[in-house]
């Protein structure tokens, strides 16, 4: 008996609605975030992640309201990402009822921010989100580069090195998304995940590419992820979180039932 591997449904929220796109474009509406979160809680989700993808900062208050409503009726850990730029943004999300914040672009712009944030709030609530894409190299050794701004801006930073650095700076957890796989339903980038999980001693959440339940299981069995994150397989009713857990348990993976 041991620590359970976590299943984390992810809600991309734009102006108060859950949406889902393929490779960050071609957006579909997937419902009211409070109702969707309640449904996943009932299905046995181990945590819920909200990513605020609202472009305009005018609409940022919307996600705070969503988190407040969800936190008053759903009693599992909640993570919120998107638009976290300063300690006051973290404070605001934690006050609204979030347990962790996920930080991407700001970490790249100013890595010291992760150190400050984890010293101030504790590393248990600081998740660094890493969007990585495989790049061609002359020597054919696999290499991944990280991107910011929802996958639009390349940085030239190596994803594995960045993961190690962020864990050292105080990230309590890493959320690793393969941009090559995101929305494709081809499964996680196992090569990327297993290299990162081997390189860091903090928990890693695998994300990007889940199209069926076996993909979730492979993220744990071959990618060695501590948690697996998925969106569309749950949003559009293909599978419930409960079905995912039963499948993973059959593969010998420890889950919370």
């Amino acid at each position: 008996m041991a620590l359970a591997k976590r299943i984390i449904p992810c809600l991309d929220v734009d102006r108060g609605r859950v949406v889902k796109g393929v490779k960050f474009v071609d957006i579909k509406d997937a419902g009211n975030p409070v109702e969707v979160a309640r449904r996943y809680d009932e299905q046995g989700a181990d945590e819920i992640t909200f990513l605020d993808i609202t472009a305009s900062s005018d609409d940022r208050e919307t996600i705070v309201n969503v988190v407040e409503q969800v936190a008053s009726e759903v009693f599992i850990p909640l993570t919120v990402g998107g638009g976290i730029r300063a300690l006051k943004d973290i404070h605001r999300m934690l006050n609204a009822g979030a347990d962790k914040v996920s930080i991407n672009t700001t970490a790249v712009k100013n890595p010291e921010f992760i150190r400050q944030a984890s010293q101030h709030f504790g590393n248990q609530c600081i998740v660094v989100a890493i969007d990585a894409k495989q790049v061609n190299t002359e020597d054919r050794i696999p290499k991944w580069e990280i991107f910011t701004h929802g996958g639009r801006n390349p940085t030239g930073i190596d994803a594995i090195e960045w993961s190690v650095k962020m864990a050292q700076y105080g990230a309590g957890e890493l959320l690793v998304t393969s941009m090559d796989r995101d929305g494709t339903k081809d499964g996680f980038d196992i090569d990327l995940m297993s290299r990162i999980t081997a390189a860091v001693s903090v928990p890693v959440i695998a994300s990007g590419g889940v199209g069926n339940l076996d993909h979730l299981a492979q993220g744990v069995l071959k990618g060695h992820a501590d948690a697996v994150l998925a969106a569309s397989i749950f949003h559009f009713g293909e599978y419930t979180v409960g079905e995912a857990k039963r499948y993973m348990a059959k593969q010998g993976i420890e889950v919370r039932t």
Binding site: A2, A4, I76, G97, F121, Q124
Partner: protein, 226 residues
């Protein structure tokens, strides 16, 4: 009028605790405060906390009146410690360069890395992948709690139920009669401890769905006797 008081030491997610308590108790009022007089008058006291224990104690000790109110209130009437609110009750912690605790419970707080299991790596031969670290730090997620002794706060909760944990330091109790629950993560550690009117958990009941809410409900219906 019964009042549930959550002590605010500026660390951690007090609102989550508050919302969960409001969910299980419709009749009692709940407040988050650092006012000594309110803490002394609390019918139910909750001592939460996340982050660094040094910061937690700095906050407590920056106001001697507050510290005395907390120490006095912990002596009688139902009290619940959560996470750092458990660790602070021990005699000593390795965290924050080594720090003395309130010394109400016997034992100390250690870092998971002080156990050799956490540095161990293994090679997954079947899948032939790179060596992996077996026990990540922080210990984060849902783990099983074995109820080592009966207690009113375990009522309606199955033995080996899973609760949500997130911590890098763990409690090593030296008084077996104070250990109410144990969890295993590389080594066995104290997941819940109690002494008289005090009950304290390493896990977060406010984030542990049904089982956690049941424990909080048991707490607000507890008179502090065992």
């Amino acid at each position: 009028m019964g009042k549930i008081v959550i002590v605010d030491l500026g660390t951690g997610n007090l609102h989550s605790v508050c919302k969960a308590i409001e969910h299980v108790s419709s009749t009692k009022s709940v407040c988050i405060t650092n006012q000594p007089s309110v803490i002394r008058a609390a019918e139910y006291l909750i001592l939460p906390g996340q982050g660094a224990i040094g910061t937690w104690f700095n906050q407590l000790q920056s106001n001697p009146e507050l510290e005395q109110a907390v120490r006095d209130r912990l002596k009688s009437g139902p009290c619940l410690g959560i996470c750092l609110g458990l660790q602070a009750l021990l005699e000593h912690s390795e965290e924050s360069g080594g720090i003395n605790g309130l010394g109400i419970l016997g034992g100390s707080v250690k870092h998971f890395s002080s156990n050799p299991h956490h540095a161990n790596t293994y090679l997954d031969k079947k899948n032939n992948t790179t060596p992996q670290i077996t026990h990540k730090i922080p210990h984060m997620g849902w783990n099983e709690v074995r109820q080592t002794l009966p207690h009113p706060l375990w009522q309606g909760i199955a033995d080996r139920e899973r609760f949500y944990f997130v911590h890098s330091y763990y409690v090593h109790s030296t008084h077996p009669q104070q250990i109410m629950g144990q969890c295993e993560y590389g080594n066995l550690f104290t997941a819940a401890a109690a002494k008289g009117n005090l009950f304290a958990t390493q896990f977060h009941p406010e984030k542990s769905q049904h089982a956690g809410l049941q424990l909080l409900k048991n707490f607000v219906n507890w008179n502090g006797d065992v």
